[in-house]
């Protein structure tokens, strides 16, 4: 018994070391930087700045308006992330269902197709979207060739959302697919047997049983898309500064302490949000405790 215990700890050691070095230590550093000033004296000024800093933005009608800079950026990040996540879910759920019900061989092919974009570098994908969505890009050329006129997409929120949806889509599909593929088909037969038409089967059996997958998909898309950067710079022409861009910008400008503070705030908010989600699913959703 004792020997097994030791072996277990021996096997664990390299991973513990890894976790301490590359997860715990950096987090401690972030917290440390967030709460100190340039001379490493304790301060909460960065937090105050995050919540109170203001700037003027120009409205469409030419008037100027004072806003709280970082709260606006944060709010915009959440908004775009939520929209992207919702679109991922709306598109991903039916696709996951279709894949899960396809013959086994087709399933593998379809899953591979969904995953292939993930194998390509994120920057390359974003650049690809830039060329596609440009005013003179493929998208507008096709529209023009069809005689539908041109649409200005690049540099709008829509472009940013398209980029995010494209990037994070697989993270939505995969967990939903995996839970649907495991679903006991006899339950669906039982539901039909007990009087459910197709829509009822979906609503009363498939949907509730797939919620753990949906929650997992939402978390996997929402969290990285809230903190995303670069997509907004490239596809939004820098007009839609997101919280990730703010962190990057402060870091690049060598404001390490303020960058750390923004990162810290973001992390706390996400942790709280995830804790709430976990609590609610564990408590009210079947199968939630497994996730």
């Amino acid at each position: 018994m004792k020997k097994r215990f030791n072996t277990y700890h021996g096997a664990l050691a390299p991973y513990s070391l890894w976790a301490v070095l590359f997860i715990v230590v950096p987090l401690v550093f972030i917290a440390y930087y967030a709460f100190t000033d340039d001379s490493f004296a304790f301060t909460t000024e960065h937090f105050t700045r995050f919540f109170t800093a203001t700037s003027n933005i120009l409205e469409d009608d030419g008037t100027s308006r004072e806003v709280r800079t970082y709260l606006l950026i944060f709010w915009r990040s959440v908004k775009l992330a939520v929209i992207s996540t919702a679109i991922c879910l709306l598109l991903g759920y039916p696709i996951a269902y279709i894949i899960a019900r396809a013959p086994e061989k087709t399933q593998k092919t379809m899953i591979t197709l969904i995953m292939i974009p993930m194998w390509m570098n994120f920057l390359i994908r974003t650049y690809a979207w830039m060329t596609i969505l440009q005013d003179t890009g493929i998208f507008n050329n096709v529209l023009g060739a069809l005689g539908l006129g041109q649409i200005h997409v690049i540099g709008t929120e829509t472009a940013v959302i398209i980029g995010m949806v494209y990037d994070y889509f697989p993270y939505m599909v995969l967990p939903i697919y995996s839970i649907m593929a495991k679903m006991d088909l006899r339950l669906l037969e039982a539901a039909r047997d007990l009087g459910c038409g197709s829509i009822s089967v979906l609503r009363r059996v498939i949907w509730p049983l797939s919620i753990p997958g949906v929650v997992s998909g939402i978390t996997r898309v929402l969290i990285p898309s809230i903190s995303t950067f670069y997509i907004s710079q490239k596809l939004g022409n820098g007009k839609f500064f997101l919280i990730g861009d703010a962190i990057e910008g402060q870091y690049m400008a060598n404001n390490l302490h303020f960058a750390a503070a923004i990162a810290f705030i973001l992390m706390v908010i996400l942790l709280v949000a995830m804790a709430v989600v976990k609590y609610v699913t564990n408590r009210y959703v079947y199968g939630g405790e497994r996730e």
Partner: protein, 374 residues
């Protein structure tokens, strides 16, 4: 009696393999009918066809006089108890049973009443709020039955519902199912590979093999008057011998002529002769119609099961007499111990106990596809 379901000339193939071969079957109101046969005989496919989960390639499914081939499962007044229950894991016991009622938008008060009535029927009062995943196999079974019965279907289909239960529980559930069937008056179509289960519960047994119905009859008919070697062998134990029907009431087998009760065969028609192991009397050699050497004796509590070698053919005999291995004994057969069957494609395949030990293995493991997963 009123006909409730008719299957007419139904055939079905899966991937070019014939699963049902021109099956016709009538099911009557208020009947407990069992589809009995080994794995792969087509019994489950037949059941799924009545449930609406499989469509026949040819032939008709008639329900109360109406052809329902294309009616989807949720529009059939037929419910199923699935092999491994298929309870909804995200719902508690109450909601599982209430499931079909909620679909029909039955008023809340009525749902409460009906579910409680069902809980009482299956003896699960007080379990309403339990998670189905926390129940034992037997309790899950009861929930599945309650859920299938709550909307009062005209027919209840049961697909090997007791397969996953242990022997004791299974016996209890057999009794209970029979009781529930009687008290509700709902037609039960029961699928099993367990002949004992079929004999003890059914009003009518349909013996199936290789996608064909071999025999339809009451348990006593099936046991006493099996139609061919397959049925004789599948239901209970049988010694099946080659014989020749000399004339009415006279048959020759094992080198002797015996009187029997069977008529209606051609003169000198080759036949299969069935002798049940419990119908053979052991007598002193000089008084016996046949004699042979005992090759094995197995004590089974109520009786001994002995194998006797008679001119190279091994008979199984169940007796309360005590005999010893290698002893020569005489056998005596009353006319009613002999049952004559027409020759069939199953002739010669069953009913010789020379390879008995192999058969015992099969009996102790009747369902190689693995119905018992609990």
């Amino acid at each position: 009696m009123k006909k409730i379901i008719e299957l007419k000339n139904i055939s079905k193939a899966f991937d070019g393999e014939m699963v049902l071969d021109n099956i016709s079957l009538d099911i009557y109101d208020n009947e407990f009918i069992t589809l009995l046969g080994p794995s792969g005989c087509g019994k489950t496919t037949t059941l799924r066809m009545i449930g609406g989960f499989t469509q026949p390639d040819s032939g008709d499914v008639i329900f109360m006089g109406e052809r329902i081939n294309d009616v989807p499962p949720h529009k059939r007044n037929v419910n199923t108890v699935f092999q491994r229950y298929a309870l909804f894991p995200h719902l508690n016991v109450f909601e599982n049973i209430a499931f079909p009622l909620r679909e029909k938008k039955v008023p809340k008060k009525e749902i409460n009443e009906k579910v409680n009535e069902m809980l009482k029927l299956v003896m699960l009062t007080g379990f309403a709020d339990r998670r189905v995943t926390s129940l034992s196999g037997g309790q899950q079974q009861r929930v599945a039955i309650a859920r299938a019965l709550v909307s009062h279907p005209q027919v209840l289909l049961l697909d090997e519902p007791l397969g996953a239960l242990d022997l004791k529980l299974r016996k209890d559930m057999q009794q209970e199912l029979k009781k529930i069937q009687k008290s509700t008056g709902i037609t039960f179509v029961f699928v099993t590979h367990d002949q004992e289960e079929a004999l003890s519960m059914s009003d009518t047994i349909v013996v199936m093999s290789e996608g064909k119905i071999q025999q339809i009859g009451t348990p006593t008919d099936i046991y006493n008057e099996p139609k061919n070697a397959f049925v004789a062998d599948f239901i209970g134990e049988s010694n099946i011998l080659d014989g020749v029907m000399l004339e009415d009431y006279k048959v020759r087998f094992a080198g002797q002529v015996f009187s029997c009760l069977d008529t209606g065969f051609e003169k000198n028609e080759p036949v299969d002769v069935v002798v049940r192991p419990e119908d053979v009397d052991i007598v002193p050699v000089e008084k016996g119609m046949l004699s042979g050497i005992v090759t094995s004796v197995t004590f089974l509590g109520v009786h001994n099961e002995i194998i006797v070698d008679i001119n190279g053919f091994k008979w199984m005999i169940q007796t309360t007499d005590s005999v010893n291995e290698n002893e020569r004994i005489g056998l005596f057969l009353e006319p009613d111990a002999i049952h004559i069957m027409k020759k069939s494609k199953y002739s010669g395949m069953f009913g010789d106990y020379s390879s008995f030990s192999d058969e015992m293995e099969e009996i102790s493991n009747p369902d190689p596809e693995g119905g018992a997963e609990e």
